[in-house]
Subunit: 356 residues, 4 copies
Amino acid sequence: MAYTVGIVGAAGYAGIEAARLVLNHPEFELKVVTSNADAGDKLSDQYPAFAGLTDLAFTTHDDPALLECDLAFLAVPHTAALAQVPRLLEAGVSVFDLSADYRLSDPAVYEAWYNAPHTSPELLAERAFGLPELFAQDLAQAAEKHAAGKATLVACAGCYPTATSLAAAPAVRAGWVAPDLPIVVDAISGVTGAGKGCTARTHYCGADENIEAYGVAKHRHTPEIEQILGAPGRVIFTPHLAPLKRGLLSTVYLPLAASAAEGFSTEQAVAAYQETYAQSAFVRVLPAGQMPKTSSVAGSNAAQVGLAYHAATHTLIAVGAIDNLCKGAAGQAVQCANIVFGLPETCGLPTAGLPV
Amino acid sequence: MAYTVGIVGAAGYAGIEAARLVLNHPEFELKVVTSNADAGDKLSDQYPAFAGLTDLAFTTHDDPALLECDLAFLAVPHTAALAQVPRLLEAGVSVFDLSADYRLSDPAVYEAWYNAPHTSPELLAERAFGLPELFAQDLAQAAEKHAAGKATLVACAGCYPTATSLAAAPAVRAGWVAPDLPIVVDAISGVTGAGKGCTARTHYCGADENIEAYGVAKHRHTPEIEQILGAPGRVIFTPHLAPLKRGLLSTVYLPLAASAAEGFSTEQAVAAYQETYAQSAFVRVLPAGQMPKTSSVAGSNAAQVGLAYHAATHTLIAVGAIDNLCKGAAGQAVQCANIVFGLPETCGLPTAGLPV
Amino acid sequence: MAYTVGIVGAAGYAGIEAARLVLNHPEFELKVVTSNADAGDKLSDQYPAFAGLTDLAFTTHDDPALLECDLAFLAVPHTAALAQVPRLLEAGVSVFDLSADYRLSDPAVYEAWYNAPHTSPELLAERAFGLPELFAQDLAQAAEKHAAGKATLVACAGCYPTATSLAAAPAVRAGWVAPDLPIVVDAISGVTGAGKGCTARTHYCGADENIEAYGVAKHRHTPEIEQILGAPGRVIFTPHLAPLKRGLLSTVYLPLAASAAEGFSTEQAVAAYQETYAQSAFVRVLPAGQMPKTSSVAGSNAAQVGLAYHAATHTLIAVGAIDNLCKGAAGQAVQCANIVFGLPETCGLPTAGLPV
Amino acid sequence: MAYTVGIVGAAGYAGIEAARLVLNHPEFELKVVTSNADAGDKLSDQYPAFAGLTDLAFTTHDDPALLECDLAFLAVPHTAALAQVPRLLEAGVSVFDLSADYRLSDPAVYEAWYNAPHTSPELLAERAFGLPELFAQDLAQAAEKHAAGKATLVACAGCYPTATSLAAAPAVRAGWVAPDLPIVVDAISGVTGAGKGCTARTHYCGADENIEAYGVAKHRHTPEIEQILGAPGRVIFTPHLAPLKRGLLSTVYLPLAASAAEGFSTEQAVAAYQETYAQSAFVRVLPAGQMPKTSSVAGSNAAQVGLAYHAATHTLIAVGAIDNLCKGAAGQAVQCANIVFGLPETCGLPTAGLPV
């Protein structure tokens, strides 16, 4: 009695990670994987780790079998999801969109940052925002809708926004953070985050033994972080690329309001965060004095958060680590789908990766 | 009704990989993990990927709880297993030994290569050799013994011998290989193969951006490969170290007997190998023209084999790829334990790793 | 007519990099290399890239030949330099100290951060601070002293302070930066920065495929950065470790004063910085829209700086890239020595590394 | 009075390494760098390590300025050199060809392996083979020709053949190797060896944490190795790709003739090799018991050779390490040019790389 699943844009790194998770999921059955550029190829041709695991081959995005799935994961570039989502919903397919197209509530903000018109803004009001630890109610509503037999749309949070918000949102929501000061978000991603496209930057000899900042002062995840943290115009976000495959670390500098700063301590922050995430199967808050490593979460849907208070400047430093392809993309989408389809949140999702 | 498991030497890389697999195993329950050097520490202190997964802490090797387990995985250095195996067997604990101590049938060969006396040679005759795809009968006998209520000893094959033999043994057993010519085994391992000990060689700045050969003409896996292939004194084995964590590739040069070389082809070899491994859940033989990548099997118990015939010299080149910690160590031990305990061979074992 | 050189603590990464540079220097002659732990070993035993280049062997720190050198580079841990500097100066040896012991002008600050008494605070007033692009006058005075026949002490800037200050100081000195707001310094270093000591963090299998923050809110380079930027108590410094050998990138967030922010632009910042560094042989300011890569400077004494203005928050983002062992340690020390000894600043120093 | 230099195909990895070496060469002046695909771009745009070092920009291969250079380095793909060499020689430009086009003495062998007609076979008889340590006479003749005012052609040895032959040729030339048995050459290269082209194999996420064999039983360097070693049809060559940028290690298995094997020892081999290379500025033979690391030679024109005798099979194992881009390509070409132009062989060539 498994739910049938299609993945649109399955040949990219987020798409193939979704395929991995669905293939290992006890309640989902992978039926369709599309990639216009790779139609006809088997998944295992491009990703030989799948040899013996599946004989599925890519079809094109217009594969009619997609419309018969119970749910679809969309792992296409921004604007390409705009073309797919309405027709899938109309066909009764619930959509878990890994692209940016339905994340921003305000279509004007989307259009300003993505330089493209939003062609289905009416869907923004009803979509759920897919970051379950912070938007539980959105997903609860989507689950109700699903239970009522309706197709739902979940706009899954991006990789940088996920690591950043898991680290920063509890402090913001607790009212600790000064409402008018800038928030610096300085993050580092592995090369899967730069995508499967071959460029001078993603060539082994360009990425190896190199660190660089990119998209400085203009990366498109900025408005998404601002939306989640309720800090429009106040987020300074600098992503960096480092030589590893999977892993994303976000170091967030939260200036405390004077009222909160009085007597504030790392221990207090840790205690509050641990309470916030006490019920979470995936998010772990480290004790004071410890900081997360991306290798602790690689391959899994887990996230780790570390905290340190810089008393001299009244700044809480919050560090979040995730696997950018799993909790930062496909794993989160599966987590959202589990909730919407009434399954245990952790169903089919690894909570731990390789120890070494 | 799970079987209870102890891991002796659980803090090393093979031991902690065994812990990962047992923690994810539906029929095994991890009860005891020992490490004399780390007693008192939690597994998750040293391996934070385990945070939230287990609260187990290391005890010392003489932990009496070990003797109450149904089975034990031994991941201690050679000679240290000699001290543990007899007392565990006496206590009725079945032992899956990842060390080299019981692999060589002839104690004189052991003593010559390991420069230490073998203190329980009487166990060599009755131990099973743990490489299920090639020694199925050994494991079947061990399973019978277990079914009869007796504790069993399985000496699991080493990492280099596993990759090498999966690639070479079918040709040898088919009678293709000249019985008097040398067999060159040239292999490359990731740094986990060099162990958890910190040395100039395993320091990041020593291993990164470096390739080197080591143990040339004298590595201790040589007699084990010779034993498996039935080629005493004929194996020239050269291991290399390369900058990656997990993964082992062995390229084997098999000189064909004149009778076999006549009209031989890569396609013929592939067809025969595919038949040999047709029932194997873990070993995959690639079509002619393809060669295995270690990244295709990393994190899983899978192995891949590629073949190419060099007609000018009548040499079959057989390449085997495994994850040295999984199929080359802990995964293989769990696979053996599954068989001995009457479980499906793949129980709790990943057949595919990360696609990227 | 070369100057004779000793290196104290030559077996560590900064020390051996100093050896490389001195061995290639046309006016310096390497006479003594000390390492208490490695005395008797040849440099080329531990660092085989030196095979054929030198037959020098390590001696102990008390080697009397040290006292006959014209100059010494000190690459020992903090507090160990305190023991060496006075006796070297007394012997007439000019000292270029790569440790932290004489960097902080105020011994009380040293004692607070390093948790050790400063045993020769009288030397702090007369030492030069070794970061030539920003403290030219210090080095000019040291050169005069040398010309007058006196031994001099140069406290070379640390790796993080160098990259950070080259990126941030011109803005601060131009008066752009708000004098009362915190400055966030978020930096990433390769593993040579963590030293030659073998630990779980520097083991290949701990560092590979991992990013982590360390020393959060308490790293000892903080007061040094504050001293250089004239921002006591205002610097929030977070270093990270990434999987590469050499390279350090520092991303600095400079909140502009209201007066400066009016009409400010990236282009304006770039133009001013390019003028500041117009005469520098080593520092290059990139055009607006470009950001530095550590691979562009690895192996050389070069530094690159990129700038981007975040208008919404009136923040100038300045990114500096260096090779932590060269411009961040040994190269800078040689640069300082060149100046003090009246040689061309670039003498023996690579201005470009490997293109790939 | 520098010689003027052009580099054809300067945007690839071998070409840009040639640019690095020429820019640092005291007697060569870089005048022209061509790349049809990159014409108009500055070298430093693509290779920012060159920023500040040169303002040269790429022109197209038909740049007339090429014909006015004293010498040219050709770093174009095979067959493309065929189109350039004759016209350069006619114009009086001495050519150092890094491609395979003029390496093989027999045009029929070229045509069989490269699947293309050789359009200037008459040049094969007079070209020098560019591997100075083994073909000194070839280069001496070329130098005479140059001294007589004639343009010369040097076909520089490939990367795998260089490392392999430096390790194997002394044994072959000493008459130790059985004349009728196969020679196994098992080699590993860094990713620069796979070229600048972006493919699934050279993408960071394809190459990182992976080892694989490629071109098994059919790599085009096979006939070149056979030619150098005088072993037609007897070389079995298997190249592998490992995750590092620069570095190539070749492990060669040389079956000794019965006459030589009698009483043979590693020490004897080492002594003979050390004598062979006693005058070499670049090749170093390691003592018995040591094996070369690629990190010992990266960035330099050095080569290291290690030897071990496997008595049981009468096989000498010879391991050679080079930097594939330097001694394996551009460095060797510059070394050849130094000899031909009457300069010291080491002129402008690094004999040591980075210690760490």
